[in-house]
């Protein structure tokens, strides 16, 4: 067909963390194989060999091990799109460390352990002054250094997205000053800043109100035929997307967490103007190959 769209195709990491938004039973049924770094790296490689342009992942010990395995292979210029913080891990750590104060101390120790002088100095400034901007900068430097320590020169860290929990809280509390500082800081590091959200229509409205340039940010959000996790509604999200042709929006949950089959999911994505990419997680080798072959054929460049 001649109406093929040219989209960025990314392989995602949800199955490697045991996440299925369709049912927890399904993620348990996948077993432990997908959180084995070598096996997961093989899936990422299969996706890359069959049409994926890059890897989108939450920064955690699990994904860093996978990335380390991927970088042992014969690859060049792998495009990486990181999401920070990995909220689940931090909630879990807070539970074990005795709440938010215990968690803050633990992260502080981890930052110091990296010996990243810039991160340590910025972080100390943030703690002494209770300055959220300095703390954010220190934290970003810490996460970026974690990624680069495993990828070395074999991959390009193209974008770093704020995890949906941070994005949604920032939107709810009208933290335009925080988002602006984050965007400016990331551009100084020559990395595209991004936002993961499940309140896409709300984000578009707020960013317009705050005069944030959509060309300068990446957004990853749910788009699928059944409106799964498209808040407040599928129609509102579609309308919002149609108003920002200049944006860089990557669709996630295109299969509605396994509720849709890839062909019908792709048919819907093809009808959405202004989407620039899709991210899809895979849990089996055959699944990785077939899905990305199809995505490349129907959506890829």
């Amino acid at each position: 067909m001649s109406d093929k769209r040219s989209m960025r195709l990314l392989v995602g990491d949800n199955p490697f963390h045991g996440i299925s938004h369709l049912s927890q039973e399904r993620s348990r049924a996948r077993g432990n194989a997908v959180d084995n770094a070598e096996y997961a790296a093989k899936l990422v490689m299969t996706a890359l060999e069959n049409g994926a342009d890059g890897f989108m992942f939450s920064v955690s010990e699990t994904t860093l091990s996978i990335l380390q395995e991927v970088c042992k292979k014969e690859i060049k210029n792998l495009s990486l799109h990181a999401i920070v913080p990995y909220a689940y891990e931090y909630v879990r750590l807070a539970t074990q460390a005795g709440g938010i104060t215990g968690l803050a101390k633990k992260i502080g120790k981890q930052v110091i352990a990296t010996m990243n002088v810039k991160a340590i100095v910025t972080g100390l400034k943030g703690v002494v002054r209770t300055d959220p901007i300095s703390l954010m900068k220190a934290y970003m430097l810490y996460e970026i250094s974690r990624i680069r320590s495993v990828t070395r020169s074999k991959a390009n860290l193209d974008s770093v997205m704020l995890h949906e929990i941070i994005t949604e809280v920032g939107l709810a509390l009208n933290l335009d000053w925080f988002f602006r500082s984050y965007i400016d800081f990331m551009w100084k590091l020559k990395i595209q800043p991004g936002f993961e959200t499940r309140n896409f229509a709300y984000l578009v409205r707020k960013f317009k109100e705050w005069d944030i340039d959509f060309r300068k940010v990446a957004i990853v959000t749910a788009f699928n035929r059944v409106g799964f996790q498209m808040n407040p509604s599928k129609i509102e999200c579609e309308k919002a997307l149609s108003t920002i042709p200049e944006s860089n929006v990557t669709a996630m949950s295109i299969l509605a967490a396994g509720y849709l089959k890839p062909p019908e999911a792709i048919d819907y994505i093809r009808t959405r103007p202004n989407l620039k990419g899709v991210v899809v997680g895979v849990s089996k080798e055959q699944h990785a190959r077939k899905t990305f072959e199809l995505l490349k054929e129907r959506l890829g460049s």
Binding site: T101, T130, L173, Y202, A257
Partner: protein, 336 residues
């Protein structure tokens, strides 16, 4: 008191942990609500929140809330502090509409007293049993209300998480969270009381995994109306449950139904089984943070204040959960 002339409710949140941040954020996007104050004992937490909530008063003392003419207060502090704080809110007349994160109190006696205070205040009250606002459990309740299973004869319920599956022996994490019954089990107890009506505990067993005296797993049997038999299995030590999961298998004279956070499955005699996923049940909300049920819960509480109608899960229904928890503990200790 005081809904402002603009028809906007003035609300404060006490306790700035994970749940305090979640409710403060959701209240900030709800129409008809103005978040005016936050309160927490920790100086470091107050400083951090002050830097993000720039137009909101952040203080450490309940008395500072008195002059604010509040319409409602959210209490998201640790469970043992619920009783003294809610009592103070009512006795100091800080607000007559009160939301408390679950459980209402740390014992049944406290819960009953708080219910009496709430009755006397005449305001709306709610306890954070948000699973009632999950589309799958709402669907199950709707089906049960329509007697789709005929007479319900038995059920089994579970609440599992891996929260403490890797906690080493001697850890205080279990104790600091008040035990698995109040923390994780209270949700499934509230759902059971909502689905089936009053329950009486017949036998119970509690297990300590992390520390001597901790309550990490609970198994118990109950009896309900019309000789209904039920059993519960609750633990936060199951490794494979990355996210907490709650579920029921319900058996009736006309078939069986299973329901959990993700889906509802109905198998009636001589009919094809039917399964509904969240996707099929209109799960979108005005603003998603954490899970859709949190938004619906806050929206419902605010609406109940504006409409002057006390909605469930309120202090009365929550006191029934505290009663069952107490029964389970008593039964387990007696049988030990």
């Amino acid at each position: 008191m005081s809904k402002s002339s603009r028809g906007i409710l003035k609300v404060a949140v006490i306790g700035l942990g994970k749940m305090g941040l979640l409710h403060s954020s959701l209240l900030s996007v709800l129409p008809n609500v103005e978040l005016v104050a936050l309160c927490d004992k920790s100086g470091m937490t107050r400083r951090v929140f002050k830097s993000f909530f720039r137009r909101v008063q952040v203080n450490d003392n309940l008395e500072d809330l008195y002059d604010l003419n509040l319409d409602a207060v959210y209490i998201t502090t640790p469970i043992p502090s619920h009783f003294p704080i809610v009592k103070a809110i009512y006795s100091m007349q800080i607000a007559r509409n009160v939301f408390v994160e679950k459980t209402l109190s740390s014992n049944y006696d406290g819960a009953r007293k708080l219910y009496a205070l709430a009755q006397a205040s005449g305001g709306a009250n709610m306890v954070g049993y948000m699973k009632r606002f999950a589309v799958t459990f709402k669907k199950a309740k709707e089906l049960l209300n329509g007697s789709i299973l005929g007479d319900v004869v038995a059920f089994s319920a579970y609440a599992y998480s891996s929260d403490l599956s890797e906690t080493s022996r001697g850890s205080r994490a279990s104790m600091s969270r008040g035990g698995v019954l109040g923390d994780l089990g209270s949700h499934v107890l509230d759902l059971a009381l909502w689905f089936f009506g009053d329950l009486q505990v017949e036998s119970a067993k509690l297990e300590a995994v992390s520390d001597l005296g901790a309550e990490d797993s609970a198994r118990f049997r109950v009896r309900g109306p019309n000789d209904l038999k039920g059993k519960f299995d609750i633990t936060w030590c199951r490794k494979e449950y990355r996210m907490p999961e709650f579920g029921f298998l319900i058996q009736g004279t006309d078939g069986i139904m299973s329901v959990n956070d993700d889906n509802v499955e109905l198998e009636l005699h001589d009919k094809k089984p039917h399964k509904w996923y969240r996707h099929d049940l209109d799960d979108n909300v005005g603003f998603l943070l954490g899970a859709p049920e949190y938004f619906r819960e806050d929206e419902c509480f605010i609406k109940s204040i504006l409409d002057g109608i006390n909605m469930e899960p309120n202090f009365y229904s929550a006191s029934r959960v505290d009663r069952i928890i107490e029964q389970v503990k008593n039964e387990a200790y007696e049988s030990n």
